[in-house]
Structure formats: C-alpha cells, structure tokens
Amino acid sequence: MAQPLLSADSLFCERDDRVLFDGLHLSVSSGEIWQVEGRNGSGKTTLLRILCGLNSHYEGNLQWRGEPIDEVQDQFLTELLFIGHQAGVSAMLSPEENLRWQCALHPSLDASLVSTSLANVGLSGFEDVPAYQLSAGQKRRIALAKLYMSSAKLWILDEPFTAIDKAGVAEKESLILKHVERGGSVIMTTHQDVSPHMPLHTLNVEQFTSSAREW
C-alpha cells in the first residue's frame, strides 16, 4: 500500500476541561477526499487547525509522508493549501490585491493565474473593488479562487461553501474531484450535502469523545 500523505495517530485534544477527541486516527492517502463530520462545537475546526499546524494544544503524532511533521514543516507547508473559517481576505483590499499577497506567501499558488481565477469564480469586473463592498459569498469566492491557482498536494478546507450559491458549490466540487484525480487529497468540513458521486471518506469527530466521557 502506498504511504499515506498525512497521518494522525492517537490524537487527543482537550479544551476548557472538555475532551474534544481522544485516540483519533486518521490516515489520508493521495487521491482521497475526507469529510470531517460532527455537531456544532464538536471540534471539527479544532481538528483541522491541529492537522495544518495552527493549533498546538494536542497530544499524539502527526506525520507527513511518514515523517514527523515538525521535522518536515517547510516541505509540508509548501504542499498545503488551507482555507479556514475566516477567509483570510482583507476587507480594505481588492480581490486582486488580496490574491497577489497570498501568492507571495504561498509559492504553490501560481500568480499568473490571478485574473483567470477571479473570472472563474465569477468576480471578473470586481478585481479593483475593495472587498468590504462585496457580499459575504463574493468574499468567500476570493478565497476559493485560490483553488484554481494551487498546485498544493493537500487541501484542508474548513466550511468552504458557506454563503456560496448552488452553482458555485457544484463548480468547486468538480474542481475538488479534478484535484483528487491528479493525485491530490482533500480534508474538509461542510454542513451542506455533498454530491453523491464524490468518492468520500467520512470521519465523525464525535466517535472519539465517548471513551473519554466516562471519567
């Protein structure tokens, strides 16, 4: 069997004296889409932030291509695309300015695709409008435009489709499918129904709370 890209072993996370999960295992191989499920507040976002290294309040092992993630941090980050709860879009900057800065931060984003990607997410004509004048869905689309520019191997998407209309969701889903067909992987959370032909693996965070609740 091929080596998993990202694997998590016996993850434990506690917040405000409440155990979010204990003994959580996850192994993401190339070509897989993982959907993280759970009620509101069950720790989905926390899990995703732990996986991409934004949250360090956990116990357990994280490995990237079979090596401890701390040791291959740089390589991991060059191959990661994360779109979080907050889109990372500055309201005072235009969509184009926002994306240009993101490209400088992340070498895996192709800066020559900025304008075509904005057109792809339906923001052509809005390139120079400051983001605070755009709707919530349009702001979200600025962040999602990065999906068109990214050559990163692993996409971690936290509620990527909030405030996105149906046609937009379908487009992004086909983009995600294309990404996994090329050998990439996706870990995402969403409360919306995902189209049935997505080859989805699911992980329910709540499964891992029960063992801990007893004490």
Partner: protein, 229 residues
C-alpha cells in the same frame, strides 16, 4: 537564488500592502500624529507656559510624547490581519515569518516613527527647545523610533488574540521602552548643552541593531502562540 528573489518579493509586497491598507484607513494614519501634538501641548497648559521652564522640560517631553504615540498606534499592527484570517495564512506560509513581521514593522515605522520625527521640530519650537537641540532631537528620534516600533511589535503580537489588548500592550512594552527613552532624551539634552552626541547615538544605534535582529523573530513566535490559543 530564486528563493532569495521570492523573499525580497514577499518583503516588498507586504510593505506595499501595509502602506495601501494604512492609506485606506486614514484615521489610523493621522491619529498618532494628532495624539503626539496634543500630549505635548498639554504641558504648557497644565504645568506652566514659562519659556525657561518649558525649554528645560522639552527634551524629555517630546520623547515621552513620541513614545506614547508609537504605543498607541502599535495595537493595530496585527489586529485586522488577525480578525480576517490573514494571519493564519501568514503562519501557514513556508516563507520565514520574521520577514513579513519586519516588513510590516517597516511600513508601520514609516507612517508613525518617521512621521513623528518630521513633526518633532515643530513641537520643539512650541516648547522653546533651543535651536542647538534640534539636530539631536531629530537624530535621536530617527534612531530611537524604529526600536520602539520593533519592541512594540512583540507586545502587539502577544496581545493580538485578546479582546482588550490595548492596556496590556502598554504594561508589557513600556518597561522595555525605558532604555530608549533614557538615551534618547539624554541625546537631546546633550545637544542643547553643546556636549558631543556620538555616545548616545551609538547606544541608540546598538539598541536598534539588537531589536532589528531579535524582535521580528520574537514577534513571529508570539504570533504563533496568539493564533494557536
């Protein structure tokens, strides 16, 4: 080589981005300057308008006002990036964080510290600072205010996750500002009395070099802690 090129590119782009952001939020641009002017003008009103008295007070007064104005503007350094999620993207960049921090501080200094330095002679005249003191005032501010911005960035990074970080920044950062204040105002004092400035300026320069080397790294680590919480 290519990597070095992209690092310079990131530095310049972040610098430009922060200048554009500051320009679009004009209130943040002028607030520190107005604060600087008001604080300094409170003393003639509140203490004494006597020229002799004020000219003695002036070196320290201008420096304290500059220090407080810098402090006031510090809080916004990372705040909006934290709120809109840009900071997360920054921390997930494979590029070194200290570079972006340094670039942000440089942009911040250009609009606060350098602006204060330019306005300072005006305050000097207002407070009857003898003309001999002006070069000392400008030079000491020019060397001292970048240090204030760099140290302030550590405080701003540590408190960015808190809802009311403003007061806490002051408590964290003000004690660290004291050495800069001592040598900065002493330099002005020395210039007024006609003593050589070199020693004071060398010490201010040394503090700047130290802050330049260490503060961006410390602030980067502090940002990681703040976002992780």
């Amino acid at each position: 080589m290519r990597q070095a090129h992209s690092m310079v590119g990131l530095f310049m782009l972040t610098f430009k981005r922060d200048l554009v952001l500051a320009y679009r939020r004009k209130s943040e641009l002028v607030n520190p300057l107005i604060f600087f002017l008001i604080v300094a003008s409170l003393f003639p009103i509140g203490v004494s308008p006597e020229p002799n008295f004020l000219s003695q007070l002036a070196p320290g007064l201008v420096w304290v006002a500059a220090l407080l104005a810098t402090l006031l503007s510090m809080e916004s350094l990372f705040k909006s990036d934290y709120e809109d999620g840009s900071l997360e993207q920054l921390l997930l960049s494979p590029q070194p964080i200290f570079l972006v921090v340094l670039s942000k501080v440089a942009a911040h200094w250009l609009l606060s510290g350098l602006a204060l330095t330019v306005v300072a002679p005006l305050l000097g005249v207002m407070l009857f600072l003898p003309a001999e003191g002006m070069p000392g005032l400008m030079l000491s501010l020019l060397l001292g205010t970048p240090t204030l911005s760099l140290i302030g960035a550590i405080g701003a990074a540590l408190t960015v996750g808190l809802r009311r970080g403003g007061v806490l920044i002051s408590l964290l950062v003000l004690p660290l500002y004291i050495p800069v204040l001592i040598f900065g105002s002493s330099a002005v004092q020395a210039a007024v009395t006609g003593l050589p400035l070199d020693g004071y300026l060398a010490l201010l320069g040394a503090m700047l070099a130290l802050a330049l080397a260490l503060a961006p790294i410390a602030a980067g680590a502090a940002l990681r802690i703040s976002v992780s919480g």
